[in-house]
Amino acid sequence: MREITYDQAIMEAIQEEFRRDPRTVHLSTDLDAELTREFGSDRIRVTPIAENSFVGASIGLAGSGYRTVANIRMATFGFVAMDQLMNHAAKITYMFGGQASFPVLYRMTVGAGICGAAEHSVSPYSMYMNVPGLKIILPTTPYDAKGLVKTALRDKNPVVAFEHVGLGCLEGEVPEDEYFIPFGRADIKREGTDVTVVALAKMVHEATTAAEEVAKEGISVEVVDPRTLVPLDGETILTSVKKTGRLVVVDEACQTCGAAAEIVALVTADKAAFSGLKCAPNRVCGLDVPIPFSPPMERYAVPDRAKIVEAVRDVMAGA
């Protein structure tokens, strides 16, 4: 099968859907030459540097029968658009009693590892999880990226795609034929029997290499990638934990009130999963600090393979 990058996979999904549906528009502060060449500058609009207002425009477009891809670029710029995202995009379907649909795909990058310092390296998806009305996708491979974005572009609701900055150039197999990945279906990236590691975003890859490392010690790790945080596939996570009896959740977002906390709560609140636990669940998360600039500190602030290996050994020892 051919291999393309994560970024190319998302671009393909957008191009396919824009060809199919003429009532689609693209808003971004940067010119996308490839999209503009094919679809023209009427539909592919360069916006002023005004995230809040072009996110607002996407809502008005949706209410008028158009689907928008709004590329906010970095999740920190998403904070500039919080009024429109949180007060409006998330609530408008509900507040108006379901009269109209608001199909918009909001794209933003997350994650550390680019020496971007505190204002360009955040992973704020749990903040969005706390606001009902948004769907949240967190693709980790080119295959998942294309399939999830395709699904997002057929969904009737606002969908936020959090794309890790460290994954854009990642290559992987992507079929030529059209396919969709349904929301709320986790993917078991590696099967195992001793420990369930639920990993988010780029940490899926770190967890997989950590799993390979501990396999040499005879520890069999199952790596679960939720792929979408809203809806979250609790069933697959619970099934895996009931099998292994041990849980480690890995997320580079700050630990406090993060998605990892929600996943641990989901497992411990399930009577069967809880009673089958062989030791307390463990979290490997970003430290509760803004992401620092200097590489030694930046690396220290987020999880990596070594920290995951350590956490896996800990839950094994805790048995």
Binding site: P48, V55, G56, A57, G63, Y94, M95, F96
Partner: protein
């Protein structure tokens, strides 16, 4: 300028309908039968009326927290409006929105928005849709002097200007944000200096004169339909009630100022003009009044006789299926 008789009757009827609807809402609220935040449009009726008379169902509007007048002027069903204000299952939003969030997408009423200034960017999207559809349709956004203090106001002006959007900005300048005078809050002084800075054509009209609003909005909408880019219409007016209906909220505006504006009642002024010109007789006016009151009564009956939502209805509509 003389209005055609039919246009005059329609403008008068719409204004009076808003007035009587809002009076009934206020009566019900102060009798303790309504709850939440209700922002009365009394005193400002001429603006929604004069603007929306030029719009069709294919033209889209975005409203704000003080939105009942825009809904009525755009042609919304008063029964479903009143039911929504009462939080009933039969309301426009099935009781999930209330007074501040009435919408009717089937008539191009894209909703009232409770965050000051936030409707402006949303309206740029509606206007962009009209531009893409290329059928000469337009969008209009209503907002107050308070919204002109928000960053979203400036962003929306800029966006509309650079994309030449068919968007009518309707600034309902009632001179106060709750109790804070716009004189204090707006460094620009005259509001139209701001759209001018973005090269957007603008005009100030006396917003209590429905004929003036109607004429100015007519010219503006015609220009929008010709693709001449956005237009900014500032309508000066005054609200009669407090910021929202409330026993607790103080009204710190000078009482004599309120009294002087009440003497400039947009409904009474137009009624007097129509009588004086012989466009309508006292009997005509009485007949219109009777019809309006009957509609308001029907809306009230519909609302109170409608069922409450089931508590678990709260779980529906978080997402479109």
């Amino acid at each position: 300028m003389t209005l055609e008789r039919q246009t005059a009757i329609e403008l008068y009827t719409t204004m009076l309908t808003i007035r009587r609807f809002e009076e009934r809402v206020a009566t019900e609220f102060y009798a303790g039968r309504l709850f939440g935040f209700i922002h009365s449009y009394i005193g400002e009726e001429a603006i929604a009326t004069g603007v929306c008379r030029h719009l069709t169902d294919a033209d889209r509007i975005v409203s704000h927290h003080r939105g009942h007048g825009h809904c009525i002027a755009k042609g919304a069903d008063m029964n479903r409006m009143m039911a929504e204000i009462y939080g009933k299952k039969t309301g426009y939003c099935k009781g999930k929105g209330g007074s501040m969030h009435i919408a009717d997408f089937s008539i191009g009423m894209l909703g009232a928005d409770g965050i000051v200034g936030a409707g402006l960017p949303i309206a740029t999207g509606a206007a962009m849709a009209a531009q893409l559809e290329n059928k000469g349709n337009v969008a209009a956004v209503f907002f107050g002097d308070g919204a002109c203090q928000e960053g979203e106001f400036h962003e929306a002006l800029n966006l509309a200007a650079i994309w030449k959007l068919p968007l009518l900005f309707v600034c309902e300048n009632n001179h106060y944000g709750v109790n804070t005078p716009a004189d204090y809050s707006l460094a620009a002084g005259e509001i139209t200096r701001m759209p001018e800075a973005y090269h957007i054509a603008s005009r100030v009209v006396y917003g209590n004169d429905v004929e003036a609003v109607h004429e100015a909005a007519g010219e503006a909408v015609a220009a929008l339909r010709r693709g001449e880019g956005p237009y900014f219409l500032e309508c000066t007016t005054y609200r009669w009630h407090k910021h929202f209906l409330s026993d607790q909220l103080e009204d710190l505006r000078p009482p004599e100022e309120l009294e002087s504006w009440k003497k400039k009642c947009p409904v009474a002024a137009f009624e007097a003009a129509l009588l004086e010109r012989g466009v309508l007789s006292r009997a005509d006016l009485d007949r219109i009044e009777e019809g309006v009151l009957a509609q308001v009564e029907e809306a009230y009956r519909f609302a109170i006789e409608s069922p409450d939502p089931e508590p678990e209805d709260a779980l529906e509509d978080v997402y479109s299926l």
